[in-house]
């Protein structure tokens, strides 16, 4: 039997049991285990289905990862375990693994004909609970129920002991008294007791964990919830974040400490993996930490690191990342004070970054060097060399972004729980010079970030960002796009306060602007240097303007921005980059693209298709701001000409580094 594209075949028994597997007659345990098997190979899929059926499991099969994911989302409590192939055409198995782990918290078994150590290790780091080598034998499938039990046991333990990292070697057998005491609900306690009795009667050679009988309602870690979670974690500090405090900070009714604990555990593993990735150049990272990701890491972790590090390794091999990360991490402690202002901004990081304003940051920016207003976004480190380097990396990054578009879309949608955003994302990516802009911004941002002494803040922020981008990050294929998206989004939000004028829709601008913001906070005079070049860059960007830019929105955006003088750093960055490429303007308007979509500050959806924007509930205002700043670059349009006029007026201001003066007033509406 052949499955159509994306088809999902329900279990062979025909009747889908909607209740927990555990409620089945325990004498037949583990019969009735609800398994979802995903494999694009129809032969293997059929064989697995039959094998699982012979194990008395309830089997649902899918030959498409996306269908499987939709199915899982529609039936959050409908499955106990997922088995997935590693190599699938529509989505990488590891990406699916990440999503499942993040959204549904189900055990996932990976399988592949590939038994190389790298791939197996990748499975481990991505959180797979097992890895099967094809051809899979039925004996291997008979015992997969252990993973379900083990996972539930750990959740139970988290709740009991409020530990985020439950010892894997924890006792499988829980003592009755403990269970009773920690029973969170009468039902669970009751189930546990009755199931325990039943289990004792069962003729099982292995001891089973009592917690296996407990069926805890699955908490859906929605975007908002996760955002709150990340905020809470960042507030507490990643090292001090304990479930109890996180729960208190989150203040979400109905959320239990054990929910938080298990989510925290995953989050920590995720962060650990992300940070650990860069440390192992030759390790598993290589497979999924492609260049795109390295760029993103630059964004996140390179703050405070010298740009040279980045420039030297324009492709950002793992080593450089490790260096950057190590440096960033090393500095985080010392930068605690400086990063304070950013902390609040961090809190704004989230999938949905609704707030575009960062009052605190904005004030800081305004209060700091007068010239900084416009320079906020200007990377102090922006120098021709750097720009050139950025260009290189951005190109590679861009290429990767392009490849990863589809993935990005998927990932972003999945992560953001905004599936509808995918198309727009695609648009955005397609419209812009796919990735080149993004990459540029990344590089630029990284560069600028490196000049900033905000490693701590950024790191913590990146932690949040990372969490957000969890999904895409893990996809081995160019994940740059998704990662960029997220980072950009987050940056945008940060930047919003400081760069009202920036209109670019692209997440990138947002990102850079955010970075800039941070730079500003810690800024030193170096930044001002970037301004002229930055401004030039913007001009160039404007000229390069992509047709996709919502120029119409530019004006409106500008109006919205009027209130805030902050120049989004991203804008400045772009300027810097654009200045570099003045000569070849039309050819490359990556940055302009990034900013192309003009957006209003609050909640505008980037016309660009909102890879980044759609993901977030609110648009990245920064993007819009940026557009305003560089009217020149919009010359190709009527809007462009209007912008050009603005540009001219902006010129003088440029020299003053005071965007305040020129930008808002002169930008055409």
């Amino acid at each position: 039997m052949n499955l159509g594209v994306g088809s999902v075949v329900k279990n062979m028994s025909g009747a889908r049991c909607s209740v927990s597997w555990k409620s089945n007659d325990n004498n037949q345990f583990p019969a009735g285990l609800r398994v979802l098997v995903v494999d694009d190979d129809p032969t293997c899929l059929r064989i697995l289905e039959k094998m699982l059926w012979n194990c008395h499991y309830e089997v649902t099969k899918s030959n498409r990862a996306e269908s499987a994911l939709s199915l899982l989302r529609e039936n959050r409590n409908g499955f106990d375990i997922v088995i997935s192939d590693v190599h699938m055409p529509d989505m990488d198995g590891f990406k699916l693994l990440e999503h499942v782990g993040l959204e549904m918290d189900l055990p996932v078994i990976m399988m592949s004909a590939d038994d190389s150590k790298d791939v197996v290790m990748k499975g481990v780091t991505h959180g797979a609970c097992d890895y099967l080598i094809k051809p899979v034998r039925i004996e291997a499938l008979k015992n997969i129920w252990q993973h379900v039990i083990r996972k539930k046991k750990h959740e139970w333990k988290d709740k009991d002991f409020d530990q985020s990292a439950t010892a894997e070697a924890g006792d499988r057998q829980q003592k009755p008294p403990e269970d009773v005491d920690y029973s969170s609900s009468a039902n669970e306690g009751g189930n546990w007791k009755s199931s325990k009795r039943r289990k004792e009667e069962e003729d099982e050679t292995e001891e089973r964990d009592d917690s296996s009988s407990l069926k805890k309602p699955r908490v859906v870690w929605s975007v908002e919830l996760h955002q709150q979670f990340v905020q809470a974690v960042n507030q507490l500090g990643i090292d001090k974040a304990v479930p109890k405090k996180i729960l208190e900070l989150m203040n979400v009714p109905g959320l239990t400490r054990e929910n938080v604990a298990s989510h925290l555990q995953k989050y920590r593993l995720y962060l650990r993996r992300l940070s650990g990735v860069s440390q192992h150049p030759n390790g598993l990272n290589n497979s999924f930490m492609g260049h795109p990701e390295s760029n993103i890491w630059n964004v996140f972790f390179s703050m405070g690191l010298s740009f040279q590090a980045l420039a030297a390794t324009s492709q950002l091999p793992a080593q450089s990342l490790a260096t950057l990360q190590a440096a960033a991490l090393g500095r985080s402690a010392t930068k605690a004070a400086i990063s304070m202002p950013l902390v609040d901004q961090r809190n704004l990081f989230s999938f949905e970054n609704p707030k575009l304003r960062f009052p605190e940051g904005q004030q800081q920016l305004n209060n700091s060097n007068k010239q900084i207003n416009l320079l906020h976004g200007i990377p102090t480190t922006m120098e021709p060399k750097q720009l050139a380097d950025l260009h290189q990396s951005s190109q590679s990054f861009g290429a990767m972004n392009m490849q990863g578009n589809s993935r990005v879309q998927q990932n972003n949608a999945l992560l953001m729980h905004m599936p509808q955003q995918q198309p727009s994302r695609a648009q955005m990516l397609n419209e812009t010079n796919n990735g080149s802009q993004v990459s540029r911004l990344h590089d630029h941002v990284t560069a600028s970030l490196s000049s900033n002494g905000i490693p701590g803040a950024l790191l913590s922020r990146s932690g949040g960002i990372v969490a957000n981008v969890r999904g895409p990050v893990h996809s081995p294929v160019s994940q740059a796009s998704p990662i960029v998206d997220f980072s950009l989004n987050q940056n945008t939000e940060l930047q919003n306060n400081s760069f009202p004028l920036v209109r670019s829709n692209s997440g990138m601008s947002t990102m850079t602007s955010k970075r800039m913001l941070q730079e500003e906070v810690n800024s030193d005079i170096k930044r001002s240097r970037g301004f002229p070049s930055g401004y030039n860059m913007f001009d160039e960007l404007h000229q390069q303007k992509s047709q996709d830019w919502g120029l119409s929105g530019v004006g409106s955006t500008f109006d919205a921005i009027t209130g805030t003088l902050d120049v989004s750093p991203s804008m400045l960055v772009q300027q810097g980059i654009s200045s570099m490429k003045r000569n070849g303007q039309n050819g490359s308007s990556p940055i302009s693209n990034a900013f192309s979509s003009s957006r209003e500050e609050s909640g505008n959806v980037n016309p660009m298709g909102g890879n980044f924007l759609t993901v977030k509930a609110e648009q990245l205002p920064d993007a819009s701001y940026q557009n305003n700043f560089f009217p020149d670059q919009f010359g190709q349009d009527d809007h462009m000409s209007a912008l050009l006029k603005q540009q001219e007026s902006v010129g003088p201001v440029e020299s003053e580094f005071g965007f305040d003066g020129y930008a808002l007033d002169n930008l055409p509406v």
Binding site: M1, N2, D40, D41, P42, T43, C44, R46, I47, K50, M51, N54, D85, H87, S112, A113, D114, K134, P135, V136, R137, I138
Partner: protein
Amino acid sequence: MEVGQLQRSFIEYMGSLFNEGFLDAQFSQLQQLQDESNPDFVVEVVSLFFEDSERLLNDLTMALDQPNVDFKLVDAHVHQLKGSSSSIGAQRVKNCCVPFRNVCEEQNTEACLRCLQQIKQEYLLVKNKLQTLFELEQQIVAAGGAIPMMQ
């Protein structure tokens, strides 16, 4: 032909397939999976394999026919072929995949074409053998006999 004779031929033929390496233990697993509820399981799965493999072999031919060969794509196809052939126990086909992937990595078009040729031959061989086997089964059933279970 009488049932007993057919059955003996069947057993003999099956044995030769294992001995000559056309099939391996995984095929036995498939046979063990077959039961009353799925009496045609093996035929069903093998048919899936035939369809999938022919598609993959076509894709491989096309991919290697390009002026700029996309070796990643070729490798992906070979990987898939390896997975499906190993799942049904088509041992010799699976064994062709390993060197194929190596030459893919080396981006050696000539060698890839040779591997493709070899894998096509092995595939046709095992397809032929399995079809003969299934025909024998049908004859046994038509003659009123039971298909012998192989150990």
